[in-house]
Symmetry: C2
Subunit: 490 residues, 2 copies
């Protein structure tokens, strides 16, 4: 295990400070203030406890052949004040069929909700489950198989009870607040949540980090020294770092799940966000501030607007209504659409500098933003054909372009023609493309919900109109501020 | 030989007419007119004959241990009226040393010139020789080794006497005028001469084509059906076309030298010019005209100027004094310089559509012309760095660009920064580059004579000034007219 440990402690980018220091008193003070704000107060905790007890009592009566269990941060005692989402799992024995599991899960879920005078709806993840609203709290009632550590999971959620068991057995209750503070830190810097919107760090991963490193400041210290490909294997399942890295290739942080050695708990952390957590922890250690935990969104200043415009590039935004779907479907679709359109632009010789996507949950708008090196192209387009020695292809090329505006001529032994360009500016290209009907858009690689929304309505904003929109949309403005002006500490 | 023959006769691009027709009477008429203009008149031929006789008589007396011989088109009887360049070769036995050959060659050359009251200078090719001006005629007096067919040549010019011998033995004197007409045709379309300026067809190759195909119109017919990689092997040295093509890979026309099976007589024909001869012969056969032989240079019309400008591209010209060197050195250097500058432009993100070079022999100016898709670039330049997983390279990149204007940030698992671009327009980039001193220019890949000339003075012309220059320089204008508006017949 020496290998692993030394790997973890090695310095990150451009940093080699290795000595351990005593906790900065300022950090202790900040932790106190943060905890004050995020730890459930006594009465809030009491109310929650009572609610959960009621829930479990009723569940035990109704779900006769299952074992009810509160999982998630509620169960693990690391929830934050204001958290209102409860995961009630019903653990069934491995013997029953999938159909029975799903059927009973729904039946019991409905009954439990009714018994507690709640309302419910059916939600679908890997299998259907009941989402209940009971006494203004959201309760997900999810059936799963009861498995033991080391056994293969049957349904996707079967690991949750094992996670609960592991954390309860390993996390000293005195460290629960450290988990809370760590979660709030990740929230503050925008990387909390391992869902497909946030591509960040889950609550469970926070707990594991505290189990591994101890107090909040120790976790922060450890992260600040990490480099891409860091391996953390708390239970020391793996004998060699090399093997781990081979298995989890190109994953920036490999935090082996203590209940499943073949699972990386931080698999969904994006490289961008990994660099962010390393950078932000460094920054925090150098200059601790409460602002890291409760980040106020700031818009672009006039100075910054000027600087961004002085890049001499062209911004084009595509706006459309946000489809009414869950984030785990929305965000991948938004990213894919953005990718497809950037390919379209580049295939028509409009070179991109950057692209980004922004979803404004308040105004329900999606923005796809492209920053172009050029947004107009010459009227003429050069097409390089086959080598003159390849007769068949030459004939095809020459007959295809026999009416070309200029040429054919020969350059470097290849045929060349020049023809009129259909789209000599980027926005007319985008407009033409996006005006296709829904099915065509889907065939062209735009994901379904995005295609549907775009077909209903879209707008292209560029030049002055783009910057006017940025000025009017504070969320968008602060999104761009972060994208263009946040400095990485390295 | 059936294989070779069928290869040659196979249709060219987009053409498959195989039937032989009788010569178009219009072509016969044109040939007559052309010959009238280019065939030396009786008195011109008489004068030349007398001059050559004098020359040979004196040479025999002076070059006691060598055999004087008139080679080239004068010797082969295919010279054109007005030709004034005479090649007098002195053939020495193979036994003598290179030093002796050179020494005696110069000594005899000088004596011959003096005896005939001429002036001389020493010129250098592979070895030194005498260039004499005798009675207003240019006579190159060149020593060489007398070798037999099949023997390896010792000096570069040893083949010439064998060429003479071959042509005299194979070319029916009645076909000499056909050679003259063919040469004039190639002159007219601008592909006569296998030197490094013209990259076209030599006089000797013209003779071989007439030996192979007969009359002018038959040669034209054969060429019009050629495709790149055509093999002509008059003496049937090679057993397989495949082997020939392997040996002369990427050569567009392979005309095996009857005195050396391993030499392609048309090796220096460029692919551009090959396509031109195929296209022009087609055009001529479809629409015969005297204009092919005596091409009047035509300038760009206002209509064409408008069309060229409507391409929406940007033209930049670099002008400098033509260095006083022979074409075989000048043209490769001009092309290399143009190539180097186009690489410079592209490496700074200014994309080229076309480039061309033009030497105006009247005004002694060289023009390097670049047609750009864009000639300005944004202020900001994106640099994509190494993958974040490669720690060493990442550190290097990050420390190198730690003061970048924007970034670092992570995109597709790689580091990215954006820095201010030093040159945001093409002409300032070129100006900066060309203002280096001579040695720097040479180190940067600009050939020596070009570097020297540029260092003395250069001008960059763009936009209106470029087009003004084109209007004022008729030669340049007709050069561009041909480049942009000549249609290839395929």
């Amino acid at each position: 295990m020496k290998i692993l440990k030394s790997k973890i402690l090695k310095g990150g980018f451009l940093n080699s400070g290795n000595e351990k220091e005593k906790t900065n008193p300022k950090i202790l003070e900040i932790k106190k203030i943060v905890l004050e704000k995020i730890k459930p107060k006594k009465n809030e905790a009491e109310e929650m406890k009572n609610f959960l007890n009621d829930l479990l009592r009723v569940s035990k009566i109704i779900a006769v052949d299952a074992e009810p269990l509160i999982v998630g941060s509620m169960g693990r005692g690391t929830w934050l004040s204001g958290d209102n989402d409860i995961d009630l799992f019903l653990l069934f024995p491995k013997g029953i069929s999938r159909e029975e599991l799903e059927e009973k899960g729904l039946k019991y879920g409905k009954k439990i909700t009714e018994e507690l005078s709640g309302k419910y709806m059916i939600k679908y993840a890997e299998h259907p489950y009941v989402r209940a609203e009971i006494k203004k709290r959201n309760v997900d009632i999810v059936p799963c198989y009861k498995i033991k550590k080391g056994e293969r999971i049957i349904s996707a959620v079967d690991r949750s009870p094992l996670h609960l068991k592991y954390v309860l057995s390993k996390l000293d209750p005195s460290l629960r607040d450290e988990v809370r503070i760590l979660k709030q830190f990740f929230k503050g810097i925008g990387v909390y949540g391992s869902d497909l919107k946030n591509l960040g760090i889950s609550g469970y991963a926070c707990e594991l980090l505290v189990i591994k490193y101890g107090k909040f400041e120790n976790v922060i210290e450890a992260i600040s020294k990490m480099k891409p490909g860091t391996v953390i294997d708390i239970e020391r399942y793996w004998k060699s770092v090399k093997k781990v890295k081979e298995k989890f290739k190109n994953e920036v942080l490999i935090l082996i799940d203590p209940v499943d050695k073949n699972r990386n708990t931080t698999a969904s952390l994006s490289s961008e966000n990994f660099i962010k957590i390393v950078s932000k922890t460094k920054e925090f250690l150098e200059n601790p501030s409460i602002d890291f935990f409760f980040k106020k969104k700031k818009e672009l200043t006039n100075e910054e607007l000027k600087k961004i415009k002085s890049r001499g590039t062209k911004f084009i935004g595509i706006l459309f209504e946000k489809p009414d779907i869950i984030n785990d479907i929305l965000y991948p679709q938004v990213r894919k659409a953005s990718e497809r359109l950037s390919k379209l632009l580049e295939s028509h010789d409009f070179r991109l500098i950057r692209k980004c996507e922004f979803v404004n949950d308040e105004s329900n708008k999606v923005y796809l933003i492209f920053e172009l090196e050029f947004w107009t192209a010459p009227k003429i387009e050069k097409k390089i054909g086959p080598p003159i020695f390849v007769i068949k292809n030459s004939n095809d090329f020459l007959s295809k372009y026999k009416d070309a505006e200029f040429g054919p001529y020969v350059e470097n032994n290849c045929w060349v023609i020049e023809k009129e360009r259909r789209f000599d500016n980027a926005s007319s290209l985008l407009k033409n493309f996006l005006s296709k009907d829904e099915n065509e858009l889907i065939q062209e690689g735009i994901p379904s919900y995005i295609a549907k929304s775009i077909q209903k309505e879209f707008r292209i904003i560029e030049h002055k109109e783009f910057w006017k929109t940025v000025k009017n949309d504070k969320e968008l403005s602060s999104f761009l501020k972060e994208k263009y002006f946040e400095k990485i500490k390295i």
